[in-house]
Point group: C2
Chain length 192, copies 2
DNA sequence: GCCATTAAATGACGATCATCATATTAGATG
DNA sequence: CATCTAATATGATGATCGTCATTTAATGGC
């Protein structure tokens, strides 16, 4: 249809946005190509003119989802005081637990990612390291760079593991206690 | 065929064992009923005389897998000194990272579990609490019971999150550093 | 050694999966 | 306004999904 130039790019972007939500909500294997396209307001046919495969869309979605939730995390953390405790409070907020589709892609998909393509895992690794950096910058300057780097990894592991457990357990009270334990632990790990 | 009594029970057990391996390896949605039965040396037909649904098998497999890896963790930890650091070293050993099918079911399946039935999540919750207790028992007696309980949750979150990240990243060196960071963090969180 | 019983195998159900070939149609270009 | 082209839709591929009805076959009880 000889659309305005950039039309296809923007459609592709819409697909990635919609897919990144759906993948986080239902898992990479929990949603099909047709449903992903429908979520973007399209039919399934044109999919392969935008992406080489479903795996390629997953790759792009991971990048999109990780970037998006990283940005949002930064914004939210600022409101809480912008230190590691603030990050933890933002990340481990019940709203985040209850809305995986808008939240951290790592928490929603980490175990599956280990089974996916090198490209997908590379995209994930790059974004994960940006996340580490975000935490590093909020650790006390009294720590060495190497110490900050190591701690940032463990702090994110704690946040992600905590969020996943809080989502998986079948007991609302326990879920709340798990979230609290994560906030306290992240704070403790951030001490000089 | 009027087999010896207990034959069917033992077949059922074999299916659960095999399924618990496969679910951890490929995810709950990554493997079909036919493949699960084949893994146990059977064909798919008899499946529904053993289980009400695939979901019911998942439920039993979570229970089996969590119990199994809990027992193994206890055994391994003993060799390392039987404190929290020992648990962390056992849990975050490269062998565990490289063999999810024999390892912790929580680390392999946590995000998916949040999307499954109440029964499955209840089975998971019960086993998770046994895991918390295991850690609690290895925390210093100088801490209050409430403190030990809270810390045990955060310590397991750290271990699980660390293992998942170490599995997902596309960089062997980074993976090793992630594992180390988790061991150090778990040790730090276990201090009185 | 046959029979009754029942575990397991065969095979089929409609639905959905990822992928692709072909047809339609929107809209910028002339 | 008519035309051309590229973006999307339609529709089909064979494979696999979970589930179930029917058939086969093994063996303890007689």
């Amino acid at each position: 249809m000889r659309y305005a130039k950039g039309h296809k790019e923007s459609t592709r972007e819409k697909i990635v946005q919609a897919a990144s939500r759906r993948f986080r909500q239902d898992g990479a294997e929990g949603v099909g190509v047709a449903a992903l396209m429908a979520e973007a307001g399209l039919t399934h046919g044109g999919f392969y003119s935008h992406f080489e495969s479903k795996e390629a869309l997953l790759s792009a979605s991971i990048e999109e989802g990780m970037t998006q939730s990283l940005d949002e995390l930064i914004q939210l953390a600022k409101r809480y005081g912008d230190d590691v405790t603030a990050l933890a409070r933002a990340y481990l907020h019940p709203r985040h637990r209850d809305h995986p589709e808008k939240g951290c892609a790592a928490a929603a998909l980490a175990p599956e990612l280990a089974r996916h393509s090198a490209t997908t895992r590379a995209a994930f690794t790059a974004r994960l390291q940006a996340l580490f950096k975000l935490i590093e910058e909020r650790l006390p300057a009294t720590l060495s760079a190497a110490q900050r780097r190591e701690r940032s990894m463990a702090i994110f592991a704690t946040l992600m593991g905590t969020l996943q457990m809080a989502r998986a357990v079948d007991d609302k009270g326990l879920s709340e206690r798990i979230l609290q334990s994560g906030i306290h632990a992240a704070t403790a790990l951030a001490q000089g």
